[in-house]
């Protein structure tokens, strides 16, 4: 059966086992307890058979045999119960431990995935893997643990016990078992396939729901409810079909195995009856044998049930592993240096980059920035400014060329320390659903409240925060929830104000903030930028004029580079841009 499972989800079983390895002592304990339980359970029919014989054979009841036998049965039964309970508890511990580990691994992996992976996969499908799939896996694994060991042990045990009673009848039982196995196999493969399909479709559906909820306002504003519903229904119909087939096959397991049991039972009863008539076995022995036959068949019953569960579990696990094993960002080089308090000397040397090979974006990009300089990125929309930031912070790696900070190739610096040296205010503010305080202290969890308020004042966020119902302890919703775009941006500025790293990236930070507030922020920015290398993507004239270097970008390339006056004198692309964009 093992090889069969492997076929269904190649490698998954191995990976699951690898994750269970940690719990080896518990696992051994579980197997030990399973053995004990089985032996004790099998011992009971012997005792019962003995009691029956004491009643029947003697023609009258021999109470001197029966009473101690009954006491022994009670003792054995109680022991079995205890062993079973401990075993179940141990199994629970293993299962939920493994699932927790897997979830943590998955989450840790999400943190390490290259952004290109996250950009390309719908959030909903990732969520459904970590939550739903992990759950289903737990369910299957638990069933497997609780019943697989005991099942296998019981089969082996009963076989031995039956052999000691009557070889012929045992042979009948054993001959009938392959039927069970074939059937189980037939059902299991189908079940697995449909469960897997069901998981896939469910992920797809989750992604759609997620997308539509996020865009609800747009959906409504364009009255697209019906069209959206049609798309939903199409997926929903497919999900129904998969689910129907999966549940059908999995619910076949019980009736079919029940019938097989009955058949085996009947066969045993018949052969047993023949044997008893022929006097080859005592009636007590037959009773005992019949009870073994049931016990022997029951695990097959259960095991085929477990196989379906396990198949489903493996299907889910393999989806989870897809995430856990997704290629990470290239790990930091082993000799990667830690960059602390960078001076801010930055250089890009013939850098080329594109998101997709068929659409080259940045080509042969060169730039030298001295510590403390202010670099303004200017250019028409879509010219590649945001991409430059992705590269500077190493959210994406360059295809060719070198970007260096303080003379070190950034690929030879740990990502962590590189990013710690940047403070950024991006177009999307990405606030978390947490308190304002937690959001602000994101960059420096150890900051005191005084420092936090100081930063909030400097970013002109303090006054609006104070007016919120619970001040700094106000919980804001997903992605900033009820805050306005401007307020969100003020918060994200406060965040950077608090940690003040040596290099800054300000990506249109002020685009949604009103001019009056903006001016105050500009002043704060100016203070913050003093002595810090800063990149500013901006459309505003004042920012551009205050810059040490203006990078004029077009189609992913730097077409011009220099100070405001120089570039104006040059009368090139910048001058044209300036005249159309900034000249009052």
């Amino acid at each position: 059966m093992k090889s069969e499972k492997k076929k269904a989800a190649p490698g998954t079983v191995g990976k699951v086992l690898f994750h269970i390895k940690k719990y080896r002592p518990l696992l051994c304990l579980s197997i030990l307890l399973a053995t004990v339980t089985v032996i004790l359970t099998l011992y009971v029919p012997i005792l019962i058979g003995r009691a029956v014989d004491a009643m029947v054979e003697a023609g009258q009841v021999d109470f001197s045999v029966i009473l101690p036998t009954l006491t022994r049965i009670i003792l054995v039964v109680s022991l079995t119960g205890l062993a079973q309970w401990i075993m179940n508890t141990v199994n629970n511990r293993i299962t939920y431990g493994v699932v927790r580990d897997l979830r943590n691994d998955a989450f840790a992996r999400i943190q390490k995935l290259p952004l290109s992976h996250l950009d390309a996969h719908p959030t909903g499908s990732i969520v459904s893997r970590v939550i739903t799939d992990a759950d289903q896996f737990a369910e299957g694994l638990l069933m497997g643990f609780t019943q697989l060991f005991t099942g296998v042990m019981t089969i082996l045990g009963t076989l031995v016990f039956m052999l000691t009673i009557h070889v012929g009848i045992t042979a009948v039982v054993v001959l009938l078992t392959p039927m069970s196995l074939l059937l189980a196999r037939f059902i299991a493969t189908r079940t697995y396939n449909f469960f897997h399909a069901q998981s896939e479709v469910r992920g797809e559906q989750t992604a759609l729901i997620d997308e539509m909820l996020t865009g609800q306002k747009t959906v409504q504003a364009f009255s697209r409810e019906e069209a959206t519903l049609a798309r939903f229904d199409e997926i929903n119909g497919r999900l129904e079909k998969c689910s129907l087939k999966a549940t059908f096959f999995s619910s076949l397991v019980n009736p079919t195995t029940r019938v097989l049991n009955n058949l085996i039972y009947a066969a045993v009863a018949m052969t047993g009856a023949f044997a008893a008539v022929a006097g080859a076995i005592s009636v007590g022995g037959l009773t005992c044998f019949l009870s073994y036959a049931t016990q022997y068949a029951k695990p097959f019953n259960e095991i085929s049930g477990i196989i379906t569960e396990l198949q489903n579990a493996l299907a889910c696990a393999s989806r989870l592993f897809e995430l856990i094993d997704a290629p990470t960002e290239k790990p930091d080089a082993p000799d990667a240096a830690v960059l602390s308090n960078a001076e801010g000397h930055l250089k890009a040397d013939s850098v080329s980059f594109s998101y997709t090979p068929d659409r080259p974006l940045i080509e042969d990009f060169n730039l030298t920035v001295l510590p403390g300089q202010r670099i303004a990125l200017v250019g028409p929309t879509g010219c590649g400014k945001t991409t430059v930031i992705n590269l500077l912070m190493r959210f994406y790696d360059v295809d060719r060329g070198i970007i260096s900070v303080d003379g070190k190739d950034i690929r030879k610096i740990t990502r962590q320390s590189l990013r710690e040296n940047y403070g950024m205010v991006l177009q999307d503010t990405w606030l978390k659903s947490a308190t304002i305080r937690e959001n602000i202290k994101m960059g420096r969890p150890d900051a005191t409240d005084e420092e936090m308020i100081e930063a909030a004042r400097a970013a002109h966020a303090h006054s609006f925060i104070r007016r919120l119902p619970k001040g700094y302890d106000t919980v804001i919703g997903e992605d900033g929830g009820s805050l306005s775009q401007g307020q969100k941006q003020l918060l994200s500025i406060t965040r950077v104000m608090l940690c003040l790293p040596p290099m800054l990236i300000l990506d249109e930070a002020t685009s949604s903030i009103d001019t009056r507030t903006e001016e105050k922020i500009q002043k704060a920015f100016a203070r913050m930028m003093k002595g810090r290398t800063s990149f500013i993507v901006a459309h505003r004239l004042s920012t551009v004029r205050e810059a040490d270097v203006i990078l004029v970008m077009e189609n992913g390339n730097i077409v011009e580079q220099g100070r405001h006056e120089e570039l104006l004198l040059k009368g090139g692309f910048y001058a044209r841009l300036y005249n159309s964009q900034f000249a009052p």
Binding site: M55, I110, S243, N262, T381, G382, C499
Partner: protein
């Protein structure tokens, strides 16, 4: 609660009813088998011939096959019923959510809605199947087995009177104990869900602030909490099996002890060995069905929480509803706010908008300028009725917005929101949101007006370029222009641009505005902007502050009359002359 859920069964009522009938057939047959075996054993003891044994064997085989047919048929109908029910349920949920206003969604939070539509529905589906299959099977099995046991064992079956309540009480007690823990778990799931979603979406921030470790720790804590709760709950549930085993064995012992006594004292006239062994089988069946019942109890109680969460969504009243006899035509693009005040929820202390009196003629261009949190966006969202005014009346085309059919109103009022959303699909598909029948020429024309045509054509696949969920593969400025084009395709009477050119450079911004003016002069245009330049040439400019309109007029008028406007204007323009 069940009434609401039952509405979603619809066309799957028939399989839902047939399943229990099939199951009952299966049960009856299964209960007959031990009876036949008992007879057989007695016959053997009486010394029968082989042919009797063979006949009985044949009957048993037949019964087994029959029981399989019933079982398999029940499996089909039960799967059909439960999968279909789940499909309908998801459809109904999604349909309902579509009617939700932003208020409603906020109330649940979107990650919780996702859990409800996926995990919760799965649970309900599972327990629905259990109800029509196992929940019917077990009690019937229980009753039949008791009847059979009584007819065969007579007084001996009194043991069940003792054993059944003990086991039932024990199982019930265990389920009771474990339940609260399971309920608590659901809430924790919502949180776990949210934490992942947020991290994926805000990965740049997490990485930028080097918070991976912290986030990991927080997540680890949450997932460990779930592990602990599960282990605790399951530890209680783990008593089930041993309890069951002990009861079973006790019954065995009892039946054996007293049964054999009876056989001896009555020398086989009251009960014989064959019946004794049948008694044991029935005992097993009775206890097993009790066990199943307790499992069902746990399952159903667990999914009752899921069911409750689903019903909550289904029963939520959308805060915005169509009127009884809706007006289905918008006459013109005039807009009137009459003493409008608005707050986001009844509990909110502060009004987001107060005393708004505003009159816009059809075809006018109106600019709105104001500080952060001055409720500019709120004001325009009331026009297309994304929210209802708390006080006062808003009229579009002379009619109260609450009297319109909402689709009609929203078709006539095109809003390009501050937070632009594109959906997974091609550029064309996204654009056709505006008008699904638009020809390719119309698409291109709209894109030219929105200054999007050039960059779309520069894409390798042009208008067939695939856009990722949330538009992650186009830049902010491109996204905004696509959204404007999409809005234009609706040929609206009123076009609202809510700060929707913030990522577009000034030159393109100016081109867009010129295009709008030249090509759709009859459309009322409302432009919310940060840049004075964007609204300078509007017919009327509103200056907003703290949820009020503090000044309105043309550019020249406002320069004289509004100190705020003057200040904003000088700041935005003087930078050019100031020395860097």
């Amino acid at each position: 609660m069940f009434k609401t859920l039952a509405k979603s069964i619809r066309e799957f009522k028939t399989p839902s009813i047939i399943t229990p009938i099939l199951i009952i057939g299966e049960v009856v047959i299964e209960c007959l088998i031990p009876y036949i075996i008992a007879n057989l054993i007695n016959d053997i003891k009486a010394g029968c011939d082989f042919s009797t044994i063979l006949t009985n064997g044949g009957i048993m085989a037949l019964l087994a096959v029959l029981s399989l047919s019933f079982g398999a048929a029940a499996a089909i109908t039960a799967s059909k019923a439960s999968a279909g029910f789940a499909r309908n349920l998801r459809h109904d949920l999604f349909y309902k959510i579509q009617t939700y206003s932003f208020d409603n969604i906020d109330k649940f939070s979107s990650s919780s809605l996702v859990t409800r539509m996926t995990t919760d529905v799965s649970y309900v589906q599972m327990s629905y199947m259990m109800i029509i299959r196992t929940a019917i099977r077990s009690p019937f099995m229980f009753i039949f087995a008791i009847i059979m046991a009584y007819t065969m064992g007579g007084a001996l079956s009194t043991i069940f009177v003792v054993a059944v309540p003990i086991l039932a009480f024990g199982l019930f007690f265990i389920a009771r104990k474990a339940m609260p823990a399971f309920t608590r778990l659901f809430r924790k799931y919502d949180r776990l869900n949210e934490s992942i979603e947020e991290n994926v979406m805000a990965m740049r921030a997490v990485k930028g602030f080097v918070r991976e470790e912290y986030e990991k720790e927080k997540f680890t804590e949450a997932s460990d909490e779930i592990r602990r709760d599960f282990t605790r709950a399951e530890r209680i549930v783990a008593f089930n099996n041993p309890l069951m085993q002990i009861c079973l064995q006790l019954i065995m012992i009892f039946v054996l002890y007293f049964g054999s006594k009876l056989i001896v004292t009555s020398s086989g006239s009251y009960i014989d060995v064959g019946q004794l062994s049948a008694m044991l089988t029935y005992g097993m069946q009775i206890l097993m069905s009790l066990m199943m019942l307790s499992m069902i109890y746990v399952m159903i109680t667990m999914s009752a929480e899921s069911a409750r969460r689903i019903v909550e969504v289904l029963n939520e009243e959308p805060t915005l509803k169509n009127p009884e006899n809706p007006v289905t035509e918008v006459k013109d693009g005039s807009i009137h706010f009459e003493n409008v005040s608005f707050k986001y929820s009844r509990r909110a202390e502060k009004y987001a908008l107060s005393d708004i009196d505003l009159h816009i003629r059809s075809g006018e261009t109106v600019g709105i300028i104001g500080g952060t949190g001055s409720s500019k966006s709120t004001l325009v969202q009331l026009i297309s009725r994304l929210y209802d005014a708390t006080e006062g009346v808003i009229r579009v085309g002379g009619v109260d917005v609450r009297e319109y059919d909402m689709n009609v109103l929203r078709d006539s009022v095109s809003v390009v929101l501050q937070k632009n959303v594109l959906f997974a699909g091609t550029v064309k598909e996204n654009l056709r949101w505006g008008n699904k029948n638009a020809t390719d020429e119309e698409l291109e024309e709209a894109c030219r007006l929105a200054q999007a045509d050039a960059f779309i054509k520069a894409f390798p696949d042009g208008y067939d370029t695939h856009i990722e969920q949330g538009g992650t593969n186009v830049s902010g400025g491109q996204k905004q222009r696509l959204c404007i084009a999409r809005a234009l395709l609706k040929r609206p009477m009123i076009l609202i641009l809510d700060d929707s050119t913030s990522a577009v450079d000034t030159k393109t911004d100016a081109l867009i505005r010129r295009g709008l003016k030249e090509f759709i002069p009859e459309t009322t245009k409302i432009i919310i902007a940060q840049r004075v330049a964007s609204v300078e040439d509007a017919d009327k400019i509103l200056v907003m502050d703290g949820g009020r309109i503090v000044a309105q007029g043309t550019h020249e008028e406002l320069l004289k009359s509004s100190p705020i406007y003057f200040e904003v204007y000088t700041q935005q323009t003087k930078g050019g002359r100031e020395n860097a």
